[in-house]
C-alpha cells in the first residue's frame, strides 16, 4: 500500500506544476525506497531502464531536417498552398488529416507522420491558414486552440488507428498475455475488434472538429487552450 505514495508524488508534482523531470525522479526514488530497495539499488534500476529506453529519444533525429525546411520557408509555403484552395476549410482539413492518420496507422505506417514530422511544419500552419482564409487574422487565443486541436487530431488518429494493424506493439502484448493465461488468440481477431472503436472515434472527433470550426469562424470563445 505504501508504495502508492510514489504515484501520489507524480499526481501532486504535476498538479502543483513542478518540473516534470524532477517529479519523475522523485517518484522513482520514493517508490523504490518504500518497496524496500536501497538508494543505490533504486538509482541503478532507474539508470538501467533509462539507458535501455534510449530508442524513445532517438526519434529526435528528425529535427535537423525539419529545422532546415522551416528555415527555407516550409511553413510559409504550407500556408500559401492552403490559402489557394478556398474549398479547404479548417474542419475539412483536419478531418482529412484524421482519416489519413487512422488509415495509415491501420496499415502499420505509424511513423510516416507525427507531431514533429507533420503537425508542426505542415498541418498546424495549414490549419491556421485555412481559418484565416475565411475569418481573417487570428488572435493568439484562437491560434493556440487551433494548434492544440491539430495536435489532438494527430493523437486521436494514431491511437484509434494503430490497433487495427496486426503487428503493432499493443496487439503483440495482448497475444502474449493471453497465451500465458492459456487462451490462444490470433492477432487478426484482436485487430478486427479495434475497427468499431476506430469508426466511432472518427465520427466523434470529426463531429467535434466541425463544431470547433464553427466556433473559430464565429470568433467565439475557443474550447481548448483556455
Amino acid at each position: 500500500m505504501l508504495i502508492l505514495l510514489g504515484v501520489a508524488v507524480v499526481v501532486a508534482g504535476f498538479a502543483i506544476g513542478l518540473n516534470p523531470l524532477l517529479v519523475v525522479v522523485a517518484s522513482a526514488l520514493v517508490t523504490g525506497l518504500l518497496a524496500g530497495h536501497s538508494l543505490v539499488e533504486v538509482l541503478s534500476a532507474f539508470g538501467k531502464a533509462f539507458n535501455e529506453n534510449r530508442y524513445v529519444s532517438a526519434a529526435w533525429l528528425i529535427l535537423p531536417v525539419i529545422g532546415v525546411l522551416e528555415r527555407a520557408g516550409l511553413q510559409e509555403r504550407a500556408r500559401a498552398v492552403i490559402s489557394g484552395f478556398r474549398a479547404v476549410t479548417l474542419p475539412r482539413l483536419l478531418i482529412g488529416y484524421l482519416l489519413f492518420r487512422q488509415l495509415t496507422s491501420a496499415l502499420g505506417l505509424t511513423s510516416i507522420a507525427g507531431q514533429a514530422q507533420t503537425v508542426r511544419p505542415l498541418v498546424a500552419p495549414m490549419a491556421e491558414a485555412a481559418a484565416e482564409a475565411r475569418g481573417g487574422p487570428l488572435d493568439d487565443e484562437r491560434r493556440e486552440s487551433i494548434r492544440a486541436f491539430t495536435a489532438a487530431t494527430d493523437n486521436v488518429g494514431l491511437l484509434f488507428g494503430e490497433d487495427i494493424f496486426l503487428a503493432i506493439g499493443s496487439i503483440l502484448l495482448m497475444v502474449g498475455f493471453l497465451a500465458q493465461s492459456g487462451i490462444v488468440m490470433e492477432p487478426l481477431h484482436l485487430s478486427l475488434w479495434a475497427i468499431p472503436t476506430a469508426i466511432a472515434a472518427f465520427l466523434v472527433h470529426g463531429a467535434r472538429l466541425i463544431l470547433f470550426g464553427r466556433k473559430i469562424a464565429r470568433g467565439g470563445a475557443p474550447e481548448a487552450g483556455q
Partner: protein, 318 residues
C-alpha cells in the same frame, strides 16, 4: 547489419554538436546550462552502455537537476527574418515539400522492402528496430536533399535542429524518463497493488458492472501510469480474465481489444503520456502546457463511454 547502436552513435554526435553550439551561442544567457544538458544527453547516447547502471542513474539525476532547478534557455542561432523566409518560400515553391516527403518515403521503403533484404545471409537492418533505423536513415537523406535542393548553408541542419531542440527543451527527455519510471513501478509492484485494490473493493456481480470496472480501470490506471501497456496486464488479470471472460463468457478478443482502446482514452488525458501530450505543446509553442490534453478530453470521455457500450454489446453476443 545496421543496428540501433549506429542510430545511437548518430544521435550522440548530433546532441554533442547541439551542446557545443549552445555553449558558443552568445545570445543565450543560459548557454552553459543548455550546453551541459545536451552534452550529458549526448554522453548517454555515446557511452550509456559503458557507464554502468549506477552511472546512468547519476546521469539521469544530473539531467533532471540541470533542467528542473533553474530553467533551460532558448538558443537563438542567426537565421533569416520572417520576410526573407516568405521570399524563400515563394522562390522555392513546392520544391520545399520534396525533402519533407523523403522521410516518410524512406520509412515506407525501409519497413516494407529493406526489412526483408539480407546481405550475405545477414539481415541488412536489425529486424526488431526497422522503423527507427529507417526513420534515422530517412532523416539523414532528407537533410542532404534539403541542403542540395534548397541551397541552405551547411551549418543549417545542426543550428536549426538546436533551435527546435531548445524549443522542446526538457520535454524532449520526459518520454524516456517516464519509460524508466514505468520500470521502477514494475519492480516495486505498483500495478499489482492498484489492481488488488480495484478487485477487492468493487463487487462484480453483473456483466455491466464488470465491463464498466474494466474499461474505467484501464483508463484510470493509464491516467496514473501514463501507459496503457502497463495497465493492461494488471487490469486484465484482475478483472477481465476472472469475471468478464471466465464467469460471464465474454469473447476474449473483444474484451481485450476494446479494453486496450479504453486505456488509450486515458493516454489522451494524462500529462504522463508526455510524447503524446506535453511534447506537442512544446513543439507548437503553446502557452498552456496542458492545451493539447484539454482539446482531447471530450473525445476521450466520449470514446470511453462508447467503448463500454461496444464491449457490452459485442463481447456477449453468442
Amino acid at each position: 547489419m545496421i543496428k540501433l547502436s549506429l542510430v545511437y552513435l548518430l544521435a550522440g554526435l548530433v546532441f554533442a554538436a547541439y551542446a557545443l553550439l549552445s555553449v558558443r551561442d552568445a545570445n543565450n544567457p543560459k548557454r552553459w546550462r543548455n550546453g551541459a544538458f545536451w552534452g550529458l544527453f549526448a554522453l548517454s547516447f555515446l557511452a550509456g552502455d559503458y557507464l554502468g547502471d549506477l552511472g546512468n542513474g547519476v546521469l539521469v539525476l544530473a539531467l533532471a537537476v540541470i533542467a528542473g532547478i533553474g530553467k533551460l534557455g532558448q538558443g537563438a542561432p542567426a537565421g533569416p527574418t520572417p520576410a526573407e523566409k516568405f521570399g524563400s518560400a515563394q522562390r522555392l515553391g513546392d520544391k520545399l515539400f520534396v525533402p519533407a516527403l523523403i522521410v516518410p518515403a524512406v520509412v515506407l521503403f525501409g519497413t516494407l522492402v529493406l526489412k526483408h533484404v539480407s546481405v550475405s545471409g545477414q539481415p541488412l537492418f536489425d529486424p526488431k528496430q526497422t522503423t527507427l533505423i529507417s526513420l534515422a536513415l530517412g532523416a539523414v537523406i532528407a537533410v542532404i536533399a534539403a541542403l542540395l535542393l534548397l541551397r541552405q548553408p551547411l551549418s543549417a541542419p545542426l543550428q536549426e535542429g538546436r533551435r527546435l531542440m531548445d524549443t522542446v527543451g526538457w520535454a524532449a527527455l520526459l518520454p524516456q524518463m517516464l519509460a524508466a519510471l514505468g520500470a521502477v513501478f514494475a519492480l516495486a509492484g505498483v500495478g499489482q497493488v492498484i489492481g488488488g485494490l480495484v478487485t477487492t473493493w468493487i463487487p462484480m456481480d453483473t456483466k455491466l458492472v464488470a465491463v464498466a470496472v474494466y474499461c474505467l480501470g484501464m483508463a484510470g490506471f493509464t491516467l496514473l501510469m501514463g501507459n496503457a501497456f502497463a495497465a493492461f496486464p494488471v487490469m486484465t488479470a484482475g478483472v477481465a480474465l476472472p469475471f468478464l471472460i471466465h464467469r460471464f463468457g465474454g469473447d476474449p478478443a473483444v474484451v481485450c481489444s476494446i479494453g486496450m482502446l479504453s486505456g488509450f482514452c486515458g493516454t489522451l488525458s494524462t500529462p504522463l503520456a508526455a510524447n503524446f501530450n506535453l511534447v506537442p505543446s512544446a513543439l507548437l509553442e503553446l502557452k498552456d502546457r496542458y492545451g493539447v490534453i484539454r482539446a482531447q478530453i471530450p473525445t476521450a470521455v466520449a470514446m470511453l463511454l462508447i467503448n463500454m457500450v461496444l464491449m457490452y454489446v459485442l463481447a456477449f453476443r453468442a
